[in-house]
């Protein structure tokens, strides 16, 4: 199996491709990005556009969370929707049935998902590559069946959140702006954790496990422990993303929060942006959501599925021509530029060299 994803080492490299010294530039750039992001709801007033921005943030957050286990640690989970659904269901049930504070409920959902991921991981991590991916699909599918048939959780009918009980403690709002800030905050938090992991020994361990698990063991790395750490962190954030979905749409059912297609989408977001890179999923989410919403707005009314055809065709084209995602493409771009520059320098040297030679002769 070919899991040798090309890895761009860090956002650092990308933001300042050939300047390790200029880290202040990097921080200024980053803060600029964050400030811009903070201003979006102030500038963009149209709720539908705000909604689009939220969708991008939510997709990005899921992609970043998935990337921890699927990208860095190379354990391609195709059943992450299980955690998404667990998060959504847990927080919704705690909120509606037990009157718990929504933020606390969200946290509980995350913790529960992380715990369950430990159980799943314990049994599935013996499997390699496609077997692992398939097993995660199976687990997600089983969880969907359980929720579909579980009366307490609303079964196939689903659960509704009280639309009229708005406020911060219930995390229910009429306006889009609060959702936007929550989604943004969540994304930044996930990114921060991801950044920390990437730059700590964990990041190195994850990549080692992905490249050569056998060799990693000879260096004292307990494979299942570190895979489980990656899986649990990833599930935690995925579940929180699920809770946010429930809080935003105010209605969940197995078809919407436990749908296999969503697992794939989480992976798609990362792949499109660049697997195993910090900011890849964010870019991927932007691109994917734009294509998705754009094609639907333009062609969705035709009634012939034209939007899907175009969307799918675009996906195929991107996958075929940019297999390492946007980040991979950017990296290649810089690498090529560097090579060209080096070549030029070389040529210049050669000519001066030969000239010098001639002169000497």
């Amino acid at each position: 199996m070919n899991i040798q994803e090309k890895t761009v080492t860090s956002a650092h490299e990308l933001l300042a491709p050939d300047s390790h010294g200029k880290s202040s530039v990097k921080y200024i750039l980053l803060s600029l990005c964050v400030i811009c992001a903070l201003l979006v709801p102030v500038v963009v007033k149209d709720p539908s556009h705000q909604n689009l921005a939220i969708l991008i943030l939510m997709a990005a957050q899921l992609g970043v969370a998935w990337n921890i286990v699927g990208g860095y640690a190379g354990q391609v989970s195709l059943g992450h929707v299980a955690f998404y659904g667990l998060g959504a269901y847990t927080s919704t049930l705690l909120l509606t049935q037990w009157g718990m504070n929504a933020w606390l409920a969200m946290l509980c959902g995350g913790i529960l998902a992380a715990l369950i991921s430990l159980v799943i991981g314990w049994s599935c991590f013996r499997l390699n590559g496609h077997y692992f991916g398939m097993a995660t699909i199976a687990v997600a599918e089983i969880i969907q069946i359980i929720f579909t048939n579980w009366e307490y959780a609303g079964g196939a009918v689903g659960l509704t959140l009280p639309m009229d009980q708005q406020g911060w403690s219930n995390m229910i709002f009429t306006d889009k702006a609060p959702y936007y800030y929550i989604a943004l905050g969540l994304l930044l938090l996930t990114l921060a954790v991801n950044y920390w992991i990437e730059h700590s020994y964990l990041g190195y361990y994850f990549r080692a496990i992905k490249d050569e698990p056998d060799a990693a063991r000879s260096l004292g790395i307990n494979l299942s422990r570190y895979k489980q750490i990656a899986f649990a962190v990833s599930s935690f954030f995925t579940a929180i993303g699920g809770s946010l979905y429930a809080q935003k749409e105010l209605y969940i059912d197995p078809g919407s929060v436990l749908h296999t297609g969503l697992s794939i989408k989480m992976a798609l977001v990362s792949i499109l942006g660049g697997v195993g890179t910090l900011l890849g999923p964010v870019i991927g989410a932007g691109v994917l959501t734009f294509i998705e919403e754009g094609t639907r707005a333009l062609f969705g009314g035709s009634g012939r599925g034209t939007d899907l055809v175009i969307y799918a065709a675009l996906i195929v084209v991107i996958a075929v021509y940019y297999p390492t995602g946007v980040m991979g493409w950017i990296k290649q771009f810089f690498a090529r530029r560097k090579a060209v520059r080096a070549q030029k320098a070389q040529d210049a040297q050669d000519t001066t060299g030969t000239q010098a030679g001639k002169e000497a002769a």
């Binding site: 994803e5 890895t7 190195y204 361990y205 990549r207 080692a208 490249d211 056998d214 000879s218």
Partner: protein, 237 residues
């Protein structure tokens, strides 16, 4: 005092017996060569010691710790470092990062790990490849990288599987120097090697396997004059 004790180890794969009742010892700070014809069971013995393939019968001890039956990662923690006959480098990482992964076992701090990894790379003469992706290094370079990586876990015993294969005599000499430096650090080495110029001059002892059985043991001179070894392995030259 001996560091590693292999006590009547046998290893069977289905019908094939790769090791049969093999016992030997590696003393602290010694270099021991493990030689024998192809298929004699040397790599298999490594796998037994490093926890990759537990012996069918017999026991293996590191000082007072019984390592047979432990997992590879436990063995690593018990002080056994190893390289593989097939290089198995982390191909998406740079040479330095490869070594850093090993260094984290001792110290989880990234900056510290980077520093000690850089030292180790120079130690095995790969200093100039620091930032080169490991996947684009030649196979023999990757093997030396694997030595640096294994050293990063600060083992007391280092198992090296054919790190000198594919080197020309000059390069073999360089590598021999590296091995001697490793011994100076107080690390014992158990070396599987077919390049005899690389092992005979420096080994404190040689163990010879044939068809899974130990057929000889002793100093390099003793072994190379042993008719059984000549017949099975060295050939008459």
């Amino acid at each position: 005092m001996s560091l590693l004790r292999v006590e009547s180890v046998s290893k069977r794969f289905g019908g094939i017996t790769a090791n049969q009742d093999v016992s030997f010892e590696v003393g602290a700070g010694k270099i021991v060569g493990l030689i024998g014809p192809n298929g004699a069971g040397k790599t298999t013995m490594f796998n037994c010691i490093a926890g990759y393939a537990p012996p069918t019968t017999g026991e293996i001890w590191m000082n007072d710790i019984k390592v047979s039956g432990m997992s590879p990662e436990q063995c690593a923690r018990a002080g056994i470092g190893r390289t593989f006959q097939v290089a198995r480098t982390f191909t998406s990482m740079t040479a330095l990062e490869n070594v850093m992964v090993g260094a984290f076992l001792i110290n989880k701090n990234v900056a510290d790990a980077r520093q000690s990894a850089a030292k180790l790379l120079s130690f095995v003469n790969l200093g100039q490849f620091k930032d080169k992706p490991a996947g684009s290094m030649t196979i023999s370079e990757q093997r030396r990288l694997a030595v640096a990586r294994a050293l990063a876990v600060r083992p007391r015993l280092l198992l090296m599987d054919e790190v000198m294969a594919g080197l020309n005599p000059t390069e073999v000499k360089e590598t021999v120097d590296v091995v001697l430096k490793i011994r100076e650090e107080g690390i014992s080495c158990l070396i599987v090697e077919h390049v005899l110029e690389g092992i005979m001059p420096i080994a404190d002892a040689i163990v010879v396997l044939d068809y899974g059985k130990k057929i000889a043991e002793g100093s390099p001179e003793q072994v190379s004059n042993d008719p059984k070894v000549i017949a099975a392995y060295l050939g008459d030259e």
